[in-house]
């Protein structure tokens, strides 16, 4: 019992559920942080110091992970919504596999764009 039981998954579906929770919370956390960040940009100097920390090659790994969270959460969210409409329960393994592939593709493409944007 308790919160830890969310992670006692028995199948890939349980794992997806656990990740949906975690990524959702991460996204929410990030959103709040992001809003704090934006509201704190009161002067030009602050903007430059902060962006010099966050927009950098070392930080790109976090951005990439954020993309993963976002893409996974979105794609998996759509998968859940499909099933919640009562559709495709018998094909749920296929749907899960497809959404996993889409999520990974989305992550790679997103990271690539990010990397290119930073690259020059």
């Amino acid at each position: 019992m308790g919160v830890m039981s969310w992670f006692k998954y028995k199948s890939p579906f349980g794992l997806a559920f656990a990740f949906q929770r975690i990524t959702g919370i991460i996204l929410l956390f990030y959103l709040i942080l992001h809003l704090c960040y934006l509201t704190s940009l009161q002067s030009r100097e602050l903007y430059e110091t902060l962006t010099s920390i966050t927009v950098s090659r070392q930080f790109i790994i976090f951005d990439s992970l954020l993309i993963l969270c976002g893409v996974f959460h979105g794609v998996n969210g759509i998968r859940i919504i499909i099933h919640e409409l009562g559709i495709g329960h018998e094909l749920r393994r296929v749907v899960l596999a497809v959404s996993a592939i889409i999520a990974i593709l989305g992550w790679i493409i997103g990271s690539y764009i990010l990397f290119m944007a930073l690259g020059d």
Binding site: M1, G2, V3, S5, W6, K8, Y9, K10, S11, F13, G14, A16, F17, I80, H83, E84, L85, G86, H89, E90, R92
Partner: protein
């Protein structure tokens, strides 16, 4: 084969191993009976039909709920780990408290609500197509596997849980039933269908392949109509 069993006695819990000789075609339940009959007569577990229809014998095997009587030992290698179901309070060894589970089932009014006369029953018609709409959901054996893996039942004990909702849908989808409104009211209250987060574990572990998750979503759709 080594059976590693999580035992509970006098509020103490401990792991105990037993060596069980395995023959071809032997099931996990046969193994448990072997232990009870030859090694430790006090090993408590439930079993009745030994053919997967009574729902007594669900236990957690290597982390996943299974019906002991339907589980072939040949599927496993050297060791097998057996625990009582999660999300149920343990009474003794592998025996868990089911009163609450049955009480939830009772809550959804799982009986046909129709205008029939006890003394003079008549034959109500139902075509095979109408039967097919709900038949799969009548197959629930109330083994509790689904509830034991349901994350929302784990954190909120008062959630109705998959099996009860399956029952609710089974009657709502029955062409002879006239109690849909009553039942929808019950399941749309706070501990019913809206507690489901589509983790789909229930559909994965259900030994009768009932797809409880689907029943819940179909029920949800009805509540929105």
């Amino acid at each position: 084969m080594k059976f590693v069993i999580r035992r509970f006695k006098d509020d103490k819990s401990f792991w105990q191993s037993f060596e069980v000789p395995v023959k071809k075609g032997m099931t996990l339940l046969d193994g448990l009976f072997y232990i009870r009959e030859n090694i430790d007569p006090s090993l408590a577990f439930r079993a009745s039909c030994r053919m997967g229809i009574c729902g007594s014998c669900a236990v957690k095997v290597n982390g996943r709920p299974r019906l002991a009587c339907e589980t072939q030992l040949s599927k496993f290698k050297k060791e097998i780990k057996i625990e009582p179901l999660d999300n149920f309070r343990v009474i003794r060894d592998l025996v868990t408290e089911f009163e609450g589970f049955f009480a939830k089932h009772k809550k959804v009014k799982p009986y046909l609500i129709a205008n029939t006369d006890y003394e003079n029953p008549i034959e109500q018609l139902q075509t095979p197509e109408e039967l097919k709409k709900y038949y799969i959901f009548t197959l629930c054996i109330k083994c509790g596997s689904c509830l034991s893996v349901c994350p929302s039942s784990a954190t909120l004990e008062s959630s109705l849980g998959p099996a009860a909702l399956v029952s609710a849908y089974r009657f709502n989808a029955d062409s002879r039933d006239r109690g849909k409104e009553e039942r929808l009211k019950i399941v749309s209250e706070s501990f019913g269908v809206w507690r489901c987060h589509s983790a789909m574990e229930c559909s994965e572990v259900c030994p009768k392949q009932i797809e409880p998750a689907k029943a819940i979503q179909l029920l949800r759709r009805e509540t929105l109509r």
